[in-house]
Amino acid sequence: MSGVVDVGVKQPRKLTLLERLYIPEIVKGMGVTIRHLLRNIVRIRNLPTILYPERRRDYSDRFRGKHILTTRADGTLKCVACYMCAEACPAECITIVAGEHPKIAYEKYPVVFDIDMLRCVFCGFCVDACPKDAIWMTRNYEMAFFNREEAVFGIDKLIAKPGLPVKDGLGYRPYYPGDGTRPPADASSSPVIPGDGERELLREKGLDLHHTAGPGPLNAPSPAEKRSRAS
């Protein structure tokens, strides 16, 4: 704690004769600007003004840019369509339609995963909300569109293609190398369960591992039903 300082007293209201004469003040002012000019010539390659797009700003690895959907080792989306990101999103820009994956270990997957980039406020709440490490952000901030339809990014634009580098590098994500977080186990490495890929067939026979035959409250609607319901 300290006191109160009156800054008005420190600056006398009356200007001195020299200050009123303009010329010395102009010379003094030019001194400041010329000093800046010379310094900028010396550091011409390191100016605070960036000549975009030839040069770009270096953003940190926490930058919240365009999202990516991460994939398992076999190239499928890690997303299990749990809707938590859509629920956490303050801009309500995420649309998910869930489907039942033929591989039983994957359970659910998103048939549709759309992010409306014009609604998105890039707050990173979706990344925080994801319990499956399925959505990350990148340092890509250049997303120009010609119309509103193009601004809705589907899985094809969001998926991080395995093996390909992410444009502009990774940004905000749930954990960083070296912070001690162990990523969740990759479900694609789980052993093949008998019946994998034959869910529809099994259900017709009443043998589905996860669902009993016949309509019931536990039965999830088929992807086609969900799609028609969503539209």
Binding site: S2, V5, V7, G29, R64, V121, C123, P131
Partner: protein
């Protein structure tokens, strides 16, 4: 109103009751103690109570802070549907007071205006008229303020459906009555009414100033705002407590961090949780950097308006570097969304302290340059000194807070009057000036930046090298990701927090911090649901904008632009 006997009163509320006991209004005012001493009065008694509160030497609630309408129709436990909740401040005792005017059911909501008691109430009452449909008999200019003239309904009433759209065309634009007819004086040039804005480079944001010019002097003026109204308060009601944080960034977007801190502090107080020291210090350091940015932008753009472009570049460089620091911490430059209820989104990067120290080294150089170019410059003096004068009494009556109030000679700073976080541990001065003109406001802001640097320097000295930045109450804060991935209990906490949101106990709270522009308050009401039942933001520049049309009268138009700059109007927080 029977709660007077049940709730034990704090000393302040007890004193207030004693004061009222000696007044003729004794039997008609209920004193309740919530987070603040609270009075409950009926609309008919309100003007008399208001006068008593302002004039009684032991009360002297001379500064009008805020008016929040509340629609109780979806909430239990309140006697009637509508309430007008006033927040007042006594500058001499640095005490806050809440007054609830309970509007009886069965008639259209109406309460007498207090814009004669506190001139600052004028625009706040217009806002309540606009958003809640409250009538204020006796109000001099009761028109819509934030919503446009073609708007139908009162958006903050609970029965208003937020999906509706009202289209506004040029035909719907209503000019004030006085502006419609030019005034002619004998032997004088014809006066002329002109519009400056809504979209004008000097209005910085979208503000419509209608001015009647007599020659070059402004004879009468009125400002129309609302072009950037996004109904932050209605949006907060339809989202969870945490989801309102990104919206807060867009209030005063020049110092977005401070808004978030102000909001989450209010919610944390309601929850009764404390955050670790390290988290508090990060908030303090980044808030002070944001304050420097805010003042840089303010002074820089203000000098551009009066023709001194060079300073703009010098002041924008520190701002650019501070944005770099914010981006390294949270991933965004402007809309940071860094705070969370209970702490921060993510710990600061490893090089945080060294980056802060580098900024502390570089910023003063730019301030010195601007100081050298501007402070004793004769042209700037002529444009600033003696222009836009707001006297001490006017500043208080108009509800000024922050640098503009301090430039008028009142040393009120929330960081000093009610030190939060660590402000009482730091050695710093509250800069004031007595002239209340543009020059005084410029000087106060320049000195405040240096004081902020001093605060940051001391905060870095006690900054713990490691430790948590967030509370470990998993009902409020998301558990660490490692636990979410591998531990079922943490996953359940995570799931509950995302899907249901934070459960804030039923109650209400007004909490205030020092924003870059003045007292930044949030009045939040919780009904125990997913999100705020009502969230009112007290924008510091709102009363200043209301007074602007009175300050500029009598001066030339060019001075009005300089004054608009020094008052620091941020449209995002002005119109919410």
């Amino acid at each position: 109103m029977s709660s007077v006997e049940i709730v034990p009163l704090t000393p302040v509320a007890e004193k207030l009751r004693e004061r009222f006991a000696r007044s003729p209004l004794a039997s008609r005012v209920a004193v309740v103690d919530l987070d603040l001493p609270t009075l409950e009065v009926s609309p008919a008694d309100w003007p008399a109570v208001a006068r008593f509160l302002r004039d009684d030497p032991e009360c002297s609630f001379d500064l009008f802070l805020d008016l929040a309408g509340v629609d109780n129709s979806k909430r239990r436990g309140r006697p009637s549907r509508f309430e007008a909740v006033f927040h007042l401040l006594s500058l001499s005792r640095e005490e806050h007071l809440r007054v609830k005017v309970v509007l009886p059911d069965g008639q259209s909501p109406s309460l007498p205006t207090v814009s004669e008691v506190w001139p600052a109430a004028n625009w706040f009452e217009r806002e309540a008229f606009d958003l809640f449909g409250f009538d204020f008999p006796g109000h001099p200019n009761l028109r819509r303020l934030l919503c446009h003239d073609a708007f139908v309904g009162n958006p903050l009433r609970k029965d208003y459906s937020p999906g509706q759209r009202w289209f506004f065309t040029e035909e719907d634009l209503r000019m004030p009555d006085w502006a419609a007819h030019p005034e002619e004086k004998a032997g004088h040039f014809e006066t002329q009414t002109i519009s400056i804005g809504p979209s004008h480079p000097a209005t910085h944001g979208i503000i419509h100033l209608i001015a009647r010019l007599d020659g070059e002097k402004i004879a009468r003026a009125e400002t129309q705002i609302g072009y950037m109204h996004r109904c932050f308060e209605k949006m907060a009601e339809t989202h969870t407590w945490n989801q309102a944080i990104p919206f807060c960034d867009r209030l005063n977007y020049v110092s977005a961090m401070i808004n978030g801190v102000g909001y989450v502090r209010t919610v944390e107080k309601m929850l009764g949780i404390e955050i670790p020291e390290r988290g508090q210090l990060v908030r303090t350091i980044l808030s002070e950097f944001s304050r420097i940015m805010d003042h840089c932008v303010n002074i820089g753009t203000n000098l551009v308006d009066i023709g001194a472009l060079t300073n703009f570049w010098y002041l924008y460089q520190p701002r650019e570097n501070i944005y770099g620091l914010l981006e390294a911490c949270c991933g965004a430059r402007l809309t940071v969304s860094y705070v969370r209820v209970g702490g921060l989104a993510i710990d600061v990067p490893e090089d945080f302290v060294s980056r802060c120290r580098a900024l502390l080294e570089s910023i003063p150089k730019f301030l010195d340059d601007v100081d050298r170019l501007v402070t004793r410059n004769r042209i700037v003096r002529n444009r600033f000194a003696g222009i836009g004068v707001v006297t001490r009494d006017q500043a208080i009556a108009w509800g000024f807070t922050g640098p503009a109030l301090r430039a008028s000679g009142v040393a009120y700073d929330v960081r000093r009057s009610r030190p939060y976080d660590f402000y009482d541990r730091f050695d710093w001065d509250v800069p004031i000036a007595t002239d209340g003109d543009n020059y005084a406001r410029y000087l106060v802001r320049m000195e405040e930046m240096r004081q902020s640097l001093a605060i940051i320097r001391q905060a870095l000295e006690i900054f713990p090298a490691s430790g948590p930045v967030s509370s470990e109450d998993w009902h409020v804060v998301l558990p660490p990701k490692d636990a979410v991935y591998h531990d079922m209990e943490s996953l359940i906490f995570h799931f509950k927090l995302i899907m249901e949101g934070i459960r804030v106990p039923v109650g209400e709270r007004y909490d205030w911090i020092e924003g870059a522009n003045g007292e930044l308050g949030f009045y939040a009401i919780s009904d125990g649901g997913r999100g705020p039942y009502r969230l009112k933001h007290r924008p510091p520049c709102f009363p200043m904008m209301a007074a602007y049309e009175k300050i500029i009268v009598g001066g030339p138009l060019s001075d009005a632009i300089a004054t608009l700059g020094t008052l620091n109007i941020i449209a995002g927080e002005l119109e919410r």
